[in-house]
Amino acid sequence: MKIKFILNGEKKTIETEPDQRVIDLLREDYNLTGTKDACGSGECGACTIMVNGETRLSCLMLVAQLEGCDITTIENIEKDQFLESVQKTFVEEGAVQCGFCTPGMILTAADMIHKKKILSTQDIREGISGNLCRCTGYQNIVAAIDVAAKKSGKVSGL
């Protein structure tokens, strides 16, 4: 099956199996290994991507569903200054230990900051409730998102 979609701003056409998982297409066919395959069941958020401006889990989507869609993965950090600034804040705030959850966390954080005018600590915690970090705790991640929100001009109550 031939599928056309936009991947990180570039038009793509690929001949592929329609029932392949999106995460496998990204990692195997496009070598975009920033999107992580962990639980495979929608519980951990490591495979978070953006589809038409909304966060989605690429382990629970089939390639056929991508037809005509606009996809953003963590690799778009090369082109997207805002995404890059969120990543930098994560580094500065020590919000990364092993880094496995980080791509999903950064995309989720960027989406949250984009969509909401004011982010409270509670908003941030709820916002990342579908992204698991098993290294430490969430304190530095929440703090990093708060700082990133403030940098982008959004006030928060941390």
């Binding site: 958020g45 629970l60 390639v63 579908g130």
Partner: protein, 289 residues
């Protein structure tokens, strides 16, 4: 290779269903794709409804609000009509899965999965929701509690899809209560859930009440006799204690990885008792006292 079809119109859907009669139908995929990965289902083809715009809207008339079956949980949470009329449903949606799951999963999917732990179901039961089933030839409707007959089982017929969910606008309730007990706050399958809508008058007397429990039996549990016992009574700790004892005798939960049968029975009763703690404040707020 397994074909995956994404119809964009209802007529297109019927044609595809004729061509692929053994296909399984999904929308968000948060349940079906997981089951397929576990090897529980292995359908020869799949039909994904997520591009059917006609099934993605919320509309209303004087009597009811109609929700298209493939409206996502996030879309419902952002919908003013739903937030205004059905706070109990909004409370259920807020504790369903995670933001990502709510972006993908749909209300129709939550109904068709027919899990005893489906988070929106107790809310839909107490609101008296009806399902509207569409086929190429006709549309028919029935109450949600008649439609769901067991875990994963519904009265849907081959050639039919769940088209819309119809929720009556009346009666109006001044208290909408929903509580979920899980092992953690997000992404947790429930140990038990409890939804209640009621009308309390100024004397704290119950004019009308509907209650439903999730995860304490094969289907969502309603107990009409318990509702009649509370009607016209004061909402007091004493009455609710009695009610809790009755509820514990009636529910039929199982023991599983999340909790034991005994624990769930105790919990089903305790959740009713908590009506007094949670909702009186809300009631006072609603009445400005």
């Amino acid at each position: 290779m397994r074909p995956v079809l994404l119809p964009e119109t209802i007529d297109g859907l019927w044609d595809i269903m004729d061509t692929y009669p053994d296909a399984m139908i999904y929308s968000g995929g948060t349940d079906l794709l997981l089951m397929m990965r576990k090897g529980i289902f292995n359908p020869p083809s799949l039909i994904c409804l997520e591009r059917l715009e006609t099934l993605k809207c919320v509309s209303e008339n004087d009597l009811e609000i109609a929700i298209g079956a493939v409206t996502t949980h996030t879309q419902l949470l952002n919908n003013n009509k739903i937030c205004t009329h059905y706070p109990v449903l909004v409370k259920a949606l807020k504790v369903l899965g995670s933001p990502h799951i709510r972006n993908m999963g749909t209300i129709g999917g939550n109904i068709m999965t027919a899990s005893p732990a489906g988070d929106t179901l107790p809310a839909l039961y107490v609101l008296g929701a009806e399902v509207e089933l569409w086929s190429k030839k006709e549309k028919r409707k029935m109450l949600i509690d008649e439609f769901i007959t067991g875990p994963g089982r519904t009265l849907i017929k081959p050639g039919e899809i769940l088209g819309r969910i119809l929720i009556p606008k009346s009666p109006l309730y001044n208290i909408h209560h929903y509580e979920k007990v899980g092992l953690r706050k997000a992404m947790a399958c429930s140990v038990a859930t409890f939804a209640a809508v009621l009308n309390l008058n100024e004397n704290k007397r119950v004019d009308s009440i509907r209650m439903a429990w999730g995860s304490v039996g094969p289907c969502i549990k309603t107990i009409p006799e318990a509702e009649s016992m509370l009607t016209s009574r004061q909402l007091t700790t004493e009455h609710l204690k009695k009610m809790a004892d009755i509820v514990r005798k009636i529910v039929l939960p199982i023991s599983d990885i999340r909790a034991s049968e005994t624990y769930r029975k105790q919990l089903a009763g305790n959740l009713v008792k908590r009506l007094i703690i949670y909702n009186y404040d809300e009631y006072k707020e609603a009445h400005g006292k």
